[in-house]
């Protein structure tokens, strides 16, 4: 069992640190490249989304990220104080559309929901709390 937590500011330059966090966790847990990439992707997509869309003001905000492994279950938790946003309710993109009609956006959350086995959202005390789980060692 191990835990790794980090705090990120709502600035785009923080995205690079997400990859470093994923790699540090992966190295500590002896995870494979595929799993490290999955963690990096999930952090990248969700935290970038918060940085880009969650805040109405120009002020500095903290985004709390934690990675934990209990047995073969990986848990990623992301907490922010931005406007309420429930990614579980976001509509799935229509992947059967031809190129001309294919929308440009909406892929990030779809990827997260595909990569993780479970995504839970709750709003508590003015904060968005996203808890995502994945069974390791299974693609």
């Amino acid at each position: 069992m191990s835990d790794l937590t980090a705090v990120f500011r709502n600035q785009r330059s923080e995205i690079q640190r997400l990859g470093e966090l994923a790699e540090r966790f992966g190295a500590g847990e002896h995870l494979g490249d595929d799993e490290v990439m999955a963690i990096n992707l999930v952090l990248d997509e969700m935290v970038a989304n918060i940085i880009e869309n969650a805040y109405d003001d120009q002020g500095e905000h903290e985004i709390h990220v934690s990675l934990a492994r209990h047995g073969d279950t990986l848990t990623i938790r992301i907490e922010d104080d931005g406007r309420p946003f429930d990614p579980v309710q976001a509509p799935a993109p229509d992947l059967d559309l031809p190129l001309e009609e294919r929308p440009i956006g909406g892929l990030g959350i779809h990827i997260v929901r595909s990569v993780m086995d479970a995504v839970d959202y709750r709003r508590q005390d003015g904060r968005n709390i996203l808890t995502m789980r994945k069974t390791l060692g299974r693609s």
Binding site: G19, E45, L95, D96, L99
Partner: protein, 112 residues
């Protein structure tokens, strides 16, 4: 991320990407791709074999490039993605809008 460009005798442009295609590096890639289309490139191979990571920002740039090329009778073919990148392309529904070739030769063949 590094981008290498090469043009074959048959006029196919190959862009070879390495490293990460994410929020930080995608603007540069989009600039290179847009610039290529602007100067008249219509058959483009994107060699992804040395690419380790792609996020949705990078995927958006691929869709945008393909959408720009289509009305110009142009085409972009992806080639050689690593297994985990291929899985991501499948998840994202790219297999129905892009030709994904195993090798550069195979990619060039589909553009002839």
């Amino acid at each position: 991320m590094d981008i290498f460009q090469s043009t074959s005798e048959s006029g196919i442009l190959t862009l070879t990407l390495s490293g990460k295609l994410d929020a930080e590096t995608t603007p540069h890639f989009a600039e290179v791709l847009d610039g290529s289309i602007e100067r008249g490139e219509r058959r483009i191979i994107l060699d992804m074999s040395a690419l380790d990571y792609v996020s949705s920002v990078g995927l958006r740039a691929l869709i945008l490039g393909a959408k720009r090329l289509a009305p110009l009778d142009g085409r972009m073919v992806l080639c050689g993605p690593q297994d985990r990148i291929m899985k991501l392309l499948e998840i994202s529904g790219f297999t129905s809008i892009f030709t994904i070739a195993a090798t550069r030769d195979e990619a060039a063949e589909t553009l002839r």
